[in-house]
Amino acid sequence: MSAAPAYSEDKGGSAGPGEPEYGHDPASGGIFSSDYKRHDDLKEMLDTNKDSLKLEAMKRIVAMIARGKNASDLFPAVVKNVACKNIEDPNQLIRASALRVLSSIRVPIIVPIMMLAIKEAASDMSPYVRKTAAHAIPKLYSLDSDQKDQLIEVIEKLLADKTTLVAGSVVMAFEEVCPERIDLIHKNYRKLCNLLIDVEEWGQVVIISMLTRYARTQFLSPTQNESLLEENPEKAFYGSEEDEAKGPGSEAAASTALPARKPYVMDPDHRLLLRNTKPLLQSRSAAVVMAVAQLYFHLAPKAEVGVIAKALVRLLRSHSEVQYVVLQNVATMSIKRRGMFEPYLKSFYIRSTDPTQIKILKLEVLTNLANETNIPTVLREFQTYIRSMDKDFVAATIQAIGRCATNIGRVRDTCLNGLVQLLSNRDELVVAESVVVIKKLLQMQPAQHGEIIKHLAKLTDNIQVPMARASILWLIGEYCEHVPRIAPDVLRKMAKSFTAEEDIVKLQVINLAAKLYLTNSKQTKLLTQYVLSLAKYDQNYDIRDRARFTRQLIVPSEQGGALSRHAKKLFLAPKPAPVLESSFKDRDHFQLGSLSHLLNAKATGYQELPDWPEEAPDPSVRNVEVPEWTKCSNREKRREKEKPFYSDSEGESGPTESADSDPESESESDSKSSSESGSGESSSESDNKDQDEDEEKGRSSESEHGEEEGKQRNMKQRKKAPEGQEGGSSSEEGGDSSSSSESEMTSETEEEQVEPASWRKKTPPSSRSAPAAKEISLLDLEDFTPPSVQPVSPPTVVSTSLAADLEGLTLTDSPLVPSLLSPVLGVGRQELLHRVAGEGLVVDYTFSRQPFSGDPHMVSVHIHFSNSSDTPIKGLHVGTPKLPAGISIQEFPEIESLAPGESATAVMGINFCDSTQAANFQLCTQTRQFYVSIQPPVGELMAPLFMSENEFKKEQGKLSGMNEITEKLTLPDTCRSDHVVVQKVTATANLGRVPCGTSDEYRFAGRTLTSGSLVLLTLDAQPTGAAQLTVNSEKMVIGTMLVKDVVQALTQ
C-alpha cells in the first residue's frame, strides 16, 4: 500500500498545471464527502476507452491525494492504465519491459492485474515476451501464493513452448512454484532434452537439475544389476573406470561391469537425457559442467560416469571459489567412485600458493584416491607438504597420512616411522598432531610398538600441546604392560606437575594412575593416591567427579563394592581401534552440486533427490502425439525460419534427435518405444535398421527419411561420436564375458608397459645421488618395491593402439557387434595373405571406415589373422615397411601368440596420402616374413562429411570447371529405388548423404582423409533410367577414379 501515494505523487507531476486548480477548488472538494461510491465512479471512468474520461479521473485522484484522502484502492485501476497501455505496445521489447515493471511492483492489490497480464503475455507471439511472463510467475507467487492453481496453468502452457528462450525461465518458475507437479513434465520431457543445448547457460543449470529429479522418479536404476558388487566398489570397478570411457575400450569395459543376469535395459528417454547433456560438459560455464556432472553421477550407469572426471578436473583451473565448490564435490565422488579420478591424481597436487581451504580439500581428495599402487607417489608428495609454512595445512597433511596408513595396510609401518620422525620436528603443532595420529595408528597393533611408546613417553617432558600430552598418557596407560618400567616414572612426573596441567591432561593422568594401580599396584599405589587426592580438590567438577569415581572403583573399600572386582575389566578392556574416515563419506545422499551438499546440512527449499523406483512408471506418458506425415513440408518451412543456431548446417539428427525440437524425430523414437516398449533404443538399433529399411521402401519418396538413414549409418561409423559409443555400450550390456576379460587383461598390460618408462623418468639418477644426504627423508620410501609411479596417464601411443586393438577384438569376438558398428563395410574382406603362401597363416583385411583413433588422416584397416596351421604363431608384427613417399603406417601392436585355430583382429592406420598407391610392408612372425601390400579403392580414401543442401551447392559452385567430372550412365532396372542407389554409392565410397529437395537427385559429400579436400558427388537420375553422375573435387585424379568406380557399381 505504501507505494500507492508515492506513485500518485509521481503522477501528479505529469498531470500538469491543472492540478493546483483542482486541489484548491472547494466545489470539487465537496464531491468527496461520501467517497466510497465515488470511487466506483472513478474506477468506471478509468476503465472506459475514452482518454478524456480517464484523464478527468486521474486529475480527480490527484486532487484527492492532495487533500490527504486515501485513494489506495484506486491504485490497481491506475496501474492498469499506465502499465497496461504499454503491455499492448506493438514493440515486443516494450511489452516485455512493461510486464517486467508491472510484476516488480510488490503491492498485493495489483495481483489480479498482474495475473491478467501474465496470462496474456504467456500467449504472446514474441518468445521474448513469453520469457518475461515466465519470469513474472515466481514474482506473483511470492506476492500471493493463493494464485498457485492459476499460475500452474500458465506454467503448463509455457512448458509446452518450443523455443529455447522460454524453456529456461519456465522451468525456473516451475521449480519455484510447483516442483512437486512432476506430471507436468512428462509431455515436455523429450522436448526439453532436445532443446537443452541451445538454452542459455543459466537455464541449462535449472533444467538439468530438474531433469535429474525427474529421471530419478521415472526410470529404473541403471546400476541395479551392479548392486551386489557395490558392496566392494573399490575393488570391483577399477578396471572399468580407469578407462574413463575414452575409446572404444570403454564399451568392452562396460560389459565387464555387468554380470549376465537379468539384462537391464535402459529406457530410451533415460538414454536421451544422458546423451543430450554430455556435450554440455564442454560448456564454458562451471555451473553447467557441474550440473551435468551431478546428473551423470546420479543417473548414469557406472561405466559411463567416468566421462565427467575430465571436465571437473578442468574446472580446477578456474577461480578459487569455483575450485572450492568443485573440490567439495570431487571429494564426495572420489569416495564412491575412486577409479574415476585416479588418472588425474596429479591435478590435485598442491601448490604453495593455493589458499589453505583449497589445500585441505585437495588433500582430502588425494587421500581418497590413494591406493596400493599410487601410495608411494602420494606419500612422497605428502612429505613435501609437511615442510610447508602453512601450519594448518601441515596438521591436515599429518591427519591424511594417518588415514592412508589405516586404509592401506602395506604402508602402515612406513607411515608410522615417518610420523615418529616428525616427533622431533621443531614445530610443536606438527609434533602434537603426529602424536594424536600415532595414537590412533598404534591402537591397531600395539604389541609391536613398545619402542614408539617409549619414545613418546620421553616427549612428555617437552610437548606442551594438551591434546598431544593427553594422547601420550592414554597410550602409556593403555599399553602399560609393554612399557612396565617407564609407565610408573611418567606417572611420577605427571603427579608432580598435575596442578599445572590442562583439564584434558588431568583426566588422562587420573586414567593412567588408575590403570597402573590395577596392573602394578606395588610401585604406584602411593602415587595414585596422591594424584587422586590432588584431583579431589581440583577446581573443575569433572575432574573431582572422575577422581571420586575412580577411587571407588579401584581402591577396595569397606563396603566391598561389587564393581571394584571388575575394575580391571572396566579399565583395561580391549578397545576397538578408531576408524579414520573421510568427513565426506555419505555426503552423497545430498544431491551433488547443491548448496545442501556443500554445507552438509539441508538448506531451505532443498528438494530431496528421490530414490529410484522399484518398478518403472509407465514410459508412454512421455509420448507426444505423432504428427501427420503430410505436414512435413509445412514443418520444414517453419524449421527453416526458426531453426536454432546449433542445429543448422551440420545436418542434424542421426540417431540423436537433433537439438532442434523436430517433432519428426521425436515421433520416430516414439514409435520405437511404443512398438517395442522395454527394449533399449540403441540396443535395438540393429534390428531397427532392418525395420527402417522396410519402412523406407514403403515410402521411398520420403527423401528426408533416407537422409536420416544415411546419417544414422554414418554416425555409427564414427565411433568417436557419443552416439556410437553409447549405443555400443548399452548394447553390450548383455555381458560378453570373453571380450570383457580381454579388456581387463589389456588394461593390465597397459600398466606394465608404462611402468619402466615412467620409473626412469621419475627418478633420474642425479636426484638420488646428489644432495641425498642433506635431505631429511621424513618417510623412508626406499623400502617400497619400485612402484609404478604413474599408473596414471599412459603415453598416447600405447593407449591408442590398445584402444584400436580392443576395437578389433570386439569385432571378431561377438557376432552382434560388426553389424552394429559398421553397417556399411566398404569393401568386403580382401585377402592379404593366402593360407598356402602364409604357411597356415591367413590374413584378410577390411576397410572399417571408422576414423582411425591415432591419426585422423589415416585410413583404419582391420586386419584379421587366423591360424589354420597346427602350431601357434608367435610374435606377429609389422616389419620395416618400404613405403612410397608420403605414405605412412601406424602399426598394430604386436600379437604375441596365435594358437592353432584361433583368429585375431588388429587395427592399423595407413595414411595413403590421397592416392591409390599400394602400401607395401612386411608382416613378420617370429620365424618368417611375408611381403604384403594393401591397395585402397579410391572410395576408402575419404570420410563422410555432413553438410546442408545449401552448403553443398555453394561448395559445388566453387568446384566447377576442371574440378568437375561428369559421366552419363543408364541405371539398370534393379538399381532404380532410392535405397539401392544410396546403398551402392555408399558402399563404393565412404561418403555422407546430403539432404536433397528433389526425389531423383542424390547428393553425397566427403573429404579426403589426408588433405581434407572436398569430394562432392551428385547423381541425377531420371525415372527412365538415364542418369548423370557428377563428381566435384579439387583432386582430379580422385574424382576421375571415383566416377569410374561408382559408375561400375551402379551399372553392374
Partner: protein, 418 residues
Amino acid sequence: MIHSLFLINSSGDIFLEKHWKSVVSRSVCDYFFEAQERATEAENVPPVISTPHHYLLSVYRHKIFFVAVIQTEVPPLFVIEFLHRVVDTFQDYFGVCSEPVIKDNVVVVYEVLEEMLDNGFPLATESNILKELIKPPTILRTVVNTITGSTNVGDQLPTGQLSVVPWRRTGVKYTNNEAYFDVIEEIDAIIDKSGSTVTAEIQGVIDACVKLTGMPDLTLSFVNPRLLDDVSFHPCVRFKRWESERMLSFIPPDGNFHLLSYHVSAQNLVAIPVYVKHNISFRDSSSLGRFEITVGPKQTMGKTIEGVTVSSQMPRGVLSMNLTPSQGTHTFDPVTKMLSWDVGKINPQKLPSLKGTMSLQAGASKPDENPTINLQFKIQQLAISGLKVNRLDMYGEKYKPFKGIKYMTKAGKFQVRT
C-alpha cells in the same frame, strides 16, 4: 534465487548494495565479517557461509568481496559463476574493476545489475546485449550526460536478445574488417628440488578479437587438433561440428571474447622452457643464510624468454636479504617476507642470477622449510604444445577480412620446490 548483492572492500566497508527482491538488512554481512576475521587472509574466506536465515556466497576479486545473499537452495556454482560474470562485465565496461571506479560509475553499475538479474534470476548476461541496453561510459558521453542530464540507457532497442544468435547484435559495421586470434598457452608445473618435473600440463586459451561487418560465419581449423584433449567453448561454437570434424565453426560475438579454452592431453610430455638452479641454505649456528638463484633457458625451441619474474615467499624467520642481481631489479618486503625479482629477458650467453645472504632473526632456530619459487615468463611466437591453426575461413559475407594469429606461451602456476 539471488536476493541481494553487497560489495565490500578490503577494509570491511559495504560500499554498494543492490537488492532484487525485498531489502535485506546490511547486518547480514556481520556473519561475513566474522568469517573474514577468522580467515586472516582474504582468499581464505569460505565462499559459502551459512547464517540462520540466509546463505552468503562470495567471490573475491580485485580486492573486493562480492557477496550474494540467497535464501533458498540454489547450486552454489550458479551464484559464484554469476558473480564472476558480474565482475567480468564491470571490467568490460570500465576497463578495471576497483572500488573507486565502481563508485564513480555507480549509476551505470546499478543499471547493469538491474538488467543482469530479474527477480534474482539471470536475464541478460552477454556483454554484447548489455552494451546495447546500457552504453558503456566514455569521457565524451559522461560530459554530455552531466550537462544534459540524460543517462546511459540506449535509445535504440536492443535486438540481440531476440535473435537466434543471442551473443551478436545485428547491423554491425566496420570499415576495416579484421579478425585476430591469440593462442595463449600456460604451463602449469611443479618442479621438485632436484629439477625433475613432478607434474606439468599445458592449458591454453584462444582469445579472439573479431571486428567483422554483418553476420560472418567463421571456421577455424587446426593442423593438429588431436593435441586438444579437453576443451570448453564459448556458446557460439557449434559442438557437433567439432565432434565430427574437429574444427571450430561459429558466428562470432562482436569484439573481444574467449573462443575456446583447452587442455593439452597429459600424455604428451611437456617441454619445460626454463630451469632454475637454486641454493638456499640456512645454517644452524649462524644467523646468516645463503641464497643463490640462477635462471636459464631449456627447450625453448630457439625463442627468447621474456618478462621473467621470480617471486618467493621467504620463511618468517628471515629478517632481511642482502642480494645482488646480475640483471634486473629485486625487492624484499620485510613485512610479508615476499621476495620478488624482475629479471626481464634471459640471455643464454649470460644467465641471470641473484646471489647474496639472508639474515635471520637472532636466536631463532633455522627454519625447516625452504621457500618455493614461483616463476613467471613469456615466450612470444610459440605455442609450446605445438598447436597450430591451419586456416580461418569466412562464409556468409562477401568482403575479405584481415586475419591474424598470434601465439604465446606463458607460465601459469609454475612452481619450483626447493
